[in-house]
């Protein structure tokens, strides 16, 4: 994949953010600029406290930066009013978090249906049909009527992905979506996120620790101490010559080989298009 295949869909410039006051003040981001592109699965890595989640929160419109701008789909999201930003997120943004955060009372269909009805003003049957289609696509045909307590971690995360995909978002943010999963299950989740980028043209930004994910990414963004240390392209091009070693590391990563019943690896795009 090329370094800049097309116009960026998400553009952060000189982003700075600190927390605390006085002597307790700590800098989470110290002037980070970043570009993300539609159709790309971008991976953001770095040690704990490097500012990954802060950057994701700022880019996704959840946390206001102290300084800098974020242009998302051509719009300066931090110049928007709170209501406008909420409307923007409603139309364009999906989220996946490490903790699944599914309603304990609802089955898989209801988790997705809720977003359709509340977020997209869909009718009951329309939302239900779309939720079922997405769950089929995610390989959860036989799990539709299970509640979170009756599902495995991987299944729950797939439901969470389905919930994020209900709105067909152009921007998809995932914060450590695999850290609570074994590698086999985590790989499936990553495949899904990559599929959302490749097949639907979504801009996907995923924060993760696991270097085994690197080969799946179109670009890998490295943060350290709140600063951008480099952007690596696992297909061979690096944003910074001094980080070439990262590419070689990623090329040595163990390729995933997880398996799961009902899993539809590689077919996400086609199915997504049919449900869209």
């Amino acid at each position: 994949m090329a370094m800049s295949p097309q116009k960026s869909s998400l553009e952060g410039r000189d982003l700075r953010r600190s927390f605390g006051q006085g002597s307790m003040r700590s800098t989470a981001l110290a002037g980070v600029s970043i570009d993300l592109y539609p159709g790309q699965f971008s991976l953001m890595m770095g040690p704990s406290g490097s500012g990954k989640s802060t950057l994701l929160a700022i880019l996704s419109g959840l946390l206001r930066p102290d300084h800098g701008t974020v242009h998302s789909l051509g719009q300066n999201i931090w110049a928007m009013s709170e209501r406008q930003a909420e409307g923007f997120r409603l139309r364009h943004v999906g989220f996946i978090f490490q903790g699944y955060n599914l309603f304990g009372a609802f089955n898989a269909v209801q988790q997705l249906e809720l977003v359709g009805r509340w977020g997209m003003n869909m009718g009951y049957w329309e939302a239900r049909k779309k939720a079922r289609n997405i769950l089929d696509m995610l390989g959860l045909s036989k799990k539709k009527h299970l509640r979170p307590a009756e599902m495995s971690g991987g299944e729950k995360q797939r439901v969470a992905i389905g919930r994020a995909l209900m709105k067909e978002p152009e921007l998809l943010f995932a914060d450590e979506p695999t850290s609570a999963l074994d590698w086999g299950t985590g790989e499936q989740v990553i495949e899904l996120l990559r599929g959302a980028a490749r097949e639907r043209g979504a801009t996907v930004l995923c924060v993760a620790h696991d270097s085994r994910i690197i080969p799946f990414a179109d670009q890998v963004i490295h943060l350290e101490d709140g600063q951008l240390k480099g952007v690596v392209y696992p297909d061979g091009k690096s944003g910074r010559p001094d980080r070439e070693d990262e590419r070689s590391h990623s090329s040595k990563s163990v390729l995933p080989g997880g398996e799961d019943e009902g899993w539809n690896k590689g077919k996400l795009g086609g199915r997504l298009n049919r449900t869209a």
Binding site: S53, T54, L56, A57, S60, L62, L63, E86, G87, F88, R89, L90, R91, V93, G94, F95, F97, Q98, G99, N101, L102, F103, G104, A105, F106, Q110, L114, V115, W118, G119, R147, A160, R163, A164, K167, D175, E176
Partner: protein
Amino acid sequence: MSYSLTTLWFDRSRYLPGVLAVGFSALLISLQFGLLLGLFSISSLPIDHTDADIWVGAPEVLAVDLGRPIRENFLAKVAANPEIERCEVYLQGFSYWSKPDGGNELCMVIGCRLDKDSLGRIRELTPEMASRLSEPGAIVCDESDLDRLGIKGVGDTAEVAGHRVRVVGLTKGIRSLAGPYVFCSVNTAKPLLRIFPEQITYVLGRCKDPKDAPMVVQRLRDQGGVSAFTANEFSIRSRMHWLTKTKAGIALGYAALLGLMVGAVVTSQTLYAATAASMKEFAVLRAMGIPRWRMATLVMSQAFWVGIIGVGLSIPAVHGLAALAAAAGSEVILPMWLQVGACTVTLVMAVGSGVVALRSLRQVEPAMLLR
């Protein structure tokens, strides 16, 4: 099933305290009011258990048992109205009962005509009792008051206001409030109440068409010099007087308010805790831009259903406890307006608790999901 009902059923153990609190509030309000209505219905018993359409008494009479003497010629004034089919005199007032073995007891003497068409004779007085009451000094009391009056039954004698009386019959279920009811003829009642021969307490009237009663009452009021009421008006006036004069209404209001407050606190805390437990799920929806009002609607809907279920549970409980109270000798009157009112007030309380619980939604912050 709606999202709110699904949540309620799934998390029923969490919502149960709220449901029970709502049910308890509705139960408390219904039973307290019902007991009080039962208690004060005793004060209007002479009106409610007789067949008069119109009651005419001294000016500004506050309650049926607080009637003052009026001249007997008021009877003619009432009879002069063309709508009146017939009218008659009626005596009622407090007096002192001297027990055979010593000691006094306040009693309520009622003197009325005793014929079978009498307007003032309570239905519980059988024709046999009425016949015996025609003897001078004969009285009838309720069997529940025997101990209070210091007598054992029919045939016993005592004194009322220094006049000897003899018990010729016993009614059943005529409970009394301030003093036991003592039923007798008009002639027996006059010395017991110490009023002049030409004085009475009320004129009772019956209309050819009961629908004309309000019109006749208004005409009598316009003429002045008397208080005139339809039977229903006078019954309510008597109950309300005792309800307010004894401050029982205020005590009841406080107790009901306390019940409501306890219910509101428990319900709002239940809803608050349940909402707070789903904070992260709500935060995801907020992150995705789903407006806060959608979640607020869910919480309010849960509050509404908690209210409906709680009130629904309270209805059979209220009737069960009312039956239990009746078996123990305390009448609980549960008119439809009371039941609907108690349910409505409690439901409003439950929905209000939902509004209080909404403050937990203000703490939903999507950024909390990012570590």
